[in-house]
């Protein structure tokens, strides 16, 4: 009994426990359902749709919000919010990954990183055959749409047929935001009829990145031989109406406008369509006038932020639901499977704006990366070569400095030697002169003293035997000898004067340019950095040997010592004091003579001392110019000193016959040489010193070609 009771009790407990478990299970399921319901409400997401707004935010809102509202109604819990985006910051905002959906012209996506995107649908173009109108210019001709069916993709054609068969609705008005093509507009009374007429004309466009608003038009012009540099593009920015407004204001000769913009603005009363004319009209399936073909329309894309559920719902909304015939919203948007962007990419390629077209630098970097081993070796060799070159250059420079230093020392020694030789010559010459004078003086003194002694003896009271007989003949002879010797001394003095005062050198024919070059070379290191000019009406002069050399070297040395950077020699025939002279003007740009020096016209008076060997502004003009003056005088000429305007002197040099115009610049490049150059050089000072030698010389020739040789000036 007890066992039975226990069994019964246990069975009861088992049933009770079972009922409790079932109840709890229901409770759990209820709670789970409640939680799922709550959670499903809580999982409702808000997504953002970025839409390109080329005509401004309001226009985009009006255009796309009805479609979006319809889409939102068909979504279960999620909400999609429209965000109009301007083209300027289109790429940056989408790149910030805030948008789950993006809607815009297909070509604008090409420039973005769309690796993980999914293309949902392409907006169907407005292709109503009844609205296929001919272009509105004089050359327009009616055409059969079937001829242009090949311009449309198969998908578009099928979609059009589908729409016509199923919907049979009246077509809406065309909009510039739905079709991608360019229209080139000019004023109706413009003289521009062909694309080629746009050369050197101003053209308004929307933006450099705008496909319909610039790139398609520019591509068309480029294909017709008008590269962008052959016309002036003026980008007017967004909204896209600006381009036609600019044309209307007359600031430009033509405008590149997106397709249908003119028709849309005309419909809105913003512009009078009749005042404008389309150039290069082409027939398209669009009801709007176009200068180019139509390219794939706007495309809806889902970014990586869009969940699969949303994409599925949107696909169902776009393609899966058959809209009622009277549904106005369904008239607004007709979607097709996503179109290929090949044509648009081809345009970008041809306009060198495709993102895949890397700049040359990027190509080079890629190539270098792929050949980095070889490039490394080449760079290593180049670096080693450069180091070696630098090292060798430094060695060469050091060697050159040594040579220059030694050269300078040798020059110094040579100069000292020359000076010593000069002193030795002077000493020897003085000794000879002294001997030449001393001998007659000794003779004279001997005779004079002899006569004196004889005279004194004659007057002294000595014995007759002690007195030397005063023979008159001897006395006369002695006196005559005195006279002879006096004349001999005078002759010696006269010879010395003659030797010092006048050169007895033979006259020779000298080449002015060659002599000038020789003088420049004789300047040595002083000539570095000086530009030497020569302009002469004559090539040769006949004058005492080395006279021209002395005149030029003294004057040029003087100018170089004053720090001149330009030394100008001009040789011309001039009239002076009612006489014709051959004049050598040697000018510099060292600042000119002091006024005190110019006032003291007589050179010897302004010399600091007779031993002055070089001219300084402080101490006078120096021995060089004094020698020049004496040489000039020895020929019967005149030397003059003046201050001149260096620019005027350069003009005079340029004015002389260019055949003999030469300009020399001495360069130090391993070895000394003269080069002829035509490069202008800015003078150091506007005022410079000029030494003019007026020579009454016969000119050997005036011009080698004229045959006027041996023309004498007097």
């Amino acid at each position: 009994m007890q066992v039975w009771a226990d069994k019964r009790k246990a069975k009861f407990m088992h049933r009770r426990l079972k009922s409790l478990v079932t109840l709890n299970a229901f409770r759990v399921i209820f709670a789970a359902l409640l939680a799922w319901s709550i959670l499903s409400k809580a999982n409702a997401q808000t997504y953002y749709l970025g839409v390109l707004a080329p005509q401004g935010e309001t226009a985009a809102q009006n255009r796309w919000q009805p479609w979006l509202d319809e889409l939102n109604n068909q979504l279960s819990d999620d909400t999609v919010i429209l965000v109009p985006l301007a083209l300027e910051n289109w790429q940056q905002q989408i790149g910030a990954q805030q948008f789950a959906l993006v809607l815009g012209p297909q070509v604008q996506f090409i420039k973005m990183n769309t690796t993980r995107w999914r293309w949902l649908a392409t907006l169907q173009a407005d292709t109503a055959q009844s609205d296929l109108i001919a272009p509105a210019n004089d050359n327009a001709q009616s055409f059969d749409a079937r001829k242009y069916e090949n311009q449309l993709s198969t998908t578009v054609i099928l979609a059009n047929e589908f729409n016509k068969l199923n919907e049979r609705v009246s077509l809406k008005q065309p909009s510039a935001m739905e079709e991608v093509a360019s229209a080139l507009w000019v004023a109706a009374d413009s003289d521009i009829y062909r694309l080629q007429d746009l050369q050197q004309r101003s053209v308004a466009a929307v933006d450099a990145d705008a496909f319909g608003g610039y790139l398609l038009g520019a591509h068309l012009l480029q294909k017709n031989g008008l590269a962008p540099n052959r016309y002036r593009v003026q980008f007017v920015g967004y909204p896209i109406e600006n381009t036609l407004h600019t044309l209307a204001s007359g600031k430009v000769d033509a405008a590149i406008a997106p397709l249908c913009l003119m028709e849309e603005m005309a419909r809105q009363g913003k512009i009078n369509e009749r005042q404008y004319r389309l150039i290069h009209p082409v027939a398209t399936v669009s009801s709007c006038q176009s200068s180019t073909g139509i390219y794939p329309n706007w495309t809806l894309a889902a970014t990586e932020q869009a969940p699969a559920n949303l994409i599925r719902q949107i696909n169902q909304s776009i393609f899966g639901v058959v809209r009622p015939v009277n549904d106005k919203n369904s008239l607004r948007q007709r979607w097709l499977p996503p179109e290929s962007s090949t044509d648009a990419e081809r345009i970008l390629y041809e306009m060198n704006q495709h993102p895949a077209q890397k700049p040359l630098g990027a190509h080079i970097v890629d190539w270098i990366k792929s050949h980095r081993l070889w490039m490394g070796m080449i760079i290593f060799i180049i670096v080693i070569s450069a180091i070696n070159y630098g090292w060798m250059s430094w060695l060469a420079w050091r060697q050159r400095q040594k040579i220059l230093k030694q050269n300078s020392l040798i020059r110094g020694y040579e100069q000292q030697l020359r000076q010593t030789e000069r002193f030795a010559v002077i000493g020897e010459m003085s000794g000879s002169i002294a001997h030449e004078i001393n001998q007659p003086l000794a003779t004279i003194q001997n005779y004079a003293q002899g006569l004196l002694i004889r005279s004194q003896q004659a007057n002294s009271p000595k014995k007759a035997d002690d007195i030397v007989p005063n023979d008159n003949a001897l006395t006369d002879n002695a006196l005559q000898q005195i006279v002879n010797e006096t004349e001999r001394v005078a002759a010696v003095v006269a010879n010395i004067r003659s030797w010092a005062g006048q050169s007895q050198a033979n006259e020779v024919k000298v080449d002015i340019a060659a002599t000038y070059q020789q003088c420049i070379l004789l300047l040595g290191e002083q000539a570095v950095g000086i530009h030497f000019w020569l302009a002469s009406d004559y090539q040769h002069l006949t004058l005492p040997n080395l006279l021209l050399d002395q005149l030029l070297i003294n004057s040029v040395t003087n100018a170089a010592q004053q720090g001149a950077t330009n030394i100008l020699l001009r040789c011309q025939a001039e009239e002076y004091n009612d006489k014709q002279w051959l004049v050598l003007h040697l000018s510099d740009d060292a600042g000119g003579f002091d006024q005190a020096q110019l006032k003291a016209r007589h050179l010897p008076e302004i010399l600091p001392s007779q031993y002055a060997t070089q001219s300084t502004k402080a101490d006078g003009l120096g021995l060089g110019l004094m020698i020049c003056q004496r040489l000039c005088k020895s020929l019967g000429g005149v030397m003059q000193l003046n201050n001149v305007n260096v620019g005027d002197e350069l003009d005079k040099i340029h004015a002389i016959d260019g055949k003999h115009l030469q300009r020399f610049k001495r360069i130090l490049n391993g070895k000394i040489q003269l080069t002829q150059t035509s490069t202008a050089h800015q003078p150091l000072n506007f005022i410079g010193a000029q030494v003019s030698f007026y020579l009454p010389l016969p000119v050997t020739d005036r011009d080698a070609d004229s045959g006027m040789s041996h023309k004498y000036l007097k």
């Binding site: 001393n438 001997n446 003896q457």
Partner: protein, 219 residues
């Protein structure tokens, strides 16, 4: 007493024995390649009352003149064939008693000093002052006379035998015959014979005169 003092003290005695040469009788030879200088010098020196002879070159002079006779030479230094220095060297080499006065035109001091070292009497720089010339000629006359006397004594001395020269040197040292005989390890008689030969050959009347000549020879 030095040898010069001895010589000057007994000069009158010597002059009595050797034919006396008077300065006024000495010929002044003028050598210069330049005629005007040559003739003017001749005129000047003639005016001083001295006998002169002129020569256009030293070579001709050496060829035509007996250089062992006393005379005064007034010669230019710079001459084409033979310079004044070469002339002096020749005279010195030949033992000539002639005294040379060098005339320098360009003041070749070094040459003049060299010539004085070689035995020239004086040097004068042209143009010549007559007073300076007179002094130089007077000195040269004395010098050439002295040299002539020395030349003659040397000529007498060279005639002595070696033994006689030894005896003469002993006499010059003031030794007596006995001492000389001891020194030369000969007899006194032999000394006396040699002494008489020395006196005879040196044309000396007594010992003091012999010593005087020997002193002059040494100087």
């Amino acid at each position: 007493m030095t040898s010069d003092q001895v010589a000057s003290t007994h000069s009158d005695n010597v002059s009595n024995k050797v034919p006396e040469i008077l300065p006024e009788q000495l010929i002044i030879h003028i050598i210069d390649d330049e005629e005007s200088v040559r003739t003017s010098c001749d005129f000047l020196i003639s005016s001083l009352g001295m006998p002169t002879r002129v020569w256009s070159s030293a070579t001709v002079f050496l060829q035509q003149v007996d250089i062992h006779r006393p005379a005064v030479i007034v010669s230019d230094l710079m001459m084409p064939e033979m310079s004044g220095q070469s002339l002096q060297a020749n005279l010195d080499k030949c033992g000539s008693p002639m005294a040379l006065i060098a005339l320098t035109g360009n003041g070749e001091i070094a040459d003049a000093v060299n010539m004085l070292k070689q035995g020239a009497a004086d040097y004068l720089e042209k143009p010549i002052k007559s007073s300076r010339l007179q002094e130089a000629i007077a000195y040269a006359q004395q010098l050439t006379i002295k040299r002539a006397k020395r030349y003659e004594i040397r000529h007498l001395y060279m005639q002595l035998t070696d033994k006689e020269k030894l005896v003469a040197n002993e006499l010059l040292g003031g030794n007596l015959n006995k001492n000389i005989a001891d020194h030369l390890d000969i007899s006194v008689r032999t000394v006396e014979v040699h002494r008489s030969q020395v006196m005879k050959k040196m044309q000396s009347q007594h010992v003091s005169e012999l010593i005087q000549k020997l002193v002059m020879l040494e100087s």
